[in-house]
């Protein structure tokens, strides 16, 4: 492998890994937000029913 081969390998791995982490974080974030919204709506319905 030539000099540029090593450079592109390093840049590819770094930016690939950072992009993967960013998108996985976004996915976890979205899932958590949906779960929280569901919990809030269930609690809202329960308190409404109690009234």
């Amino acid at each position: 492998m030539g000099a540029w081969g090593y450079v592109f390998l390093a840049y590819g791995i770094v930016w690939g890994a950072l992009l993967w982490y960013f998108f996985s974080l976004k996915r976890r974030f979205r899932r958590a937000e949906i779960e929280l919204a569901e919990l809030r709506s269930v609690e809202g319905l329960q308190s409404h029913a109690e009234k």
Partner: protein
């Protein structure tokens, strides 16, 4: 530092980080000249130094968050430490990978048990252990306390990593930029220094953007746990 910034501010931070990263790629791969001895492989430096400095910053925040948590027992400090540890592990692992790729054409080997490399690997293992510890201990407050102690101990490895090139005879070179005897601009080509500075600022902004997302995720997860406990689930 306020990781829980508003969504709009987070957007600006992300956009600014992206702009600097693209500019840094241009300067690092096109504008900066090749090194006189190492040629083009030296361009890996524009990733390698910002990565490890970002990891140091991250573990410093683990240290601060851990100390505050042990002192005040506020969940917010624990979330900060946990978030910073996760991202710090990523940047440390990337530093080791970049260094390995840079080492092959420069030293002729992918890995050597040099003091700097070994201590960086130990740093990574300590914080991988930190993340594992959190998932292994079921009781939340015990897990947070044990992790905080490990986070503080782990941070103490950083001065050793940094000083290792002075304390031991190492294959890893001593610092070229932060030298006590010379100013950076006396030692490094201005275009190389500019490329490094842009990449460094880009990495730091990206780091704070990721940290703000991870911190908010930690807050939401905490709220979900509290609500589930209240409902008896």
């Amino acid at each position: 530092m306020q990781p829980n910034v508003t969504k709009k501010r987070k957007g600006y931070l992300g956009a600014l980080a992206l702009m600097l990263i693209l500019l840094g790629l241009y300067w690092g791969l096109v504008q900066a000249p090749p090194d006189a001895y190492q040629g083009d492989t030296q361009r890996i430096m524009y990733l390698h130094i910002p990565s490890i400095l970002t990891a140091y910053l991250s573990f410093f925040l683990v240290f601060v968050g851990s100390c505050l948590y042990l002192w005040k027992r506020e969940k917010r400090d624990d979330i900060l430490a946990y978030s910073a540890a996760e991202i710090g592990v990523l940047f440390t692992a990337l530093t080791i990978i970049e260094g390995s790729i840079w080492g092959k054409p420069t030293w002729g080997v992918w890995w050597t048990w040099d003091a700097r490399l070994t201590l960086t690997a130990i740093l990574l293992l300590i914080f991988v252990g930190y993340l594992m510890l959190r998932s292994l201990i079921e009781e939340e407050s015990r897990a947070a306390s044990a992790a905080a102690i490990l986070g503080i101990i782990g941070f103490l490895d950083i001065p050793m990593v940094h000083m290792s090139v002075y304390w031991w005879r190492t294959l890893h070179q001593p610092p070229s930029i932060l030298r006590p005897d010379k100013a950076p601009w006396d030692n490094v080509h201005p275009a190389m220094l500019t490329a490094l500075a842009i990449n460094f600022v880009g990495f730091i902004l990206l780091y704070f953007y990721l940290l703000s997302l991870r911190f908010r995720l930690g807050e939401i997860t905490e709220e979900i746990k509290t609500r589930r406990l209240d409902r008896g689930q």
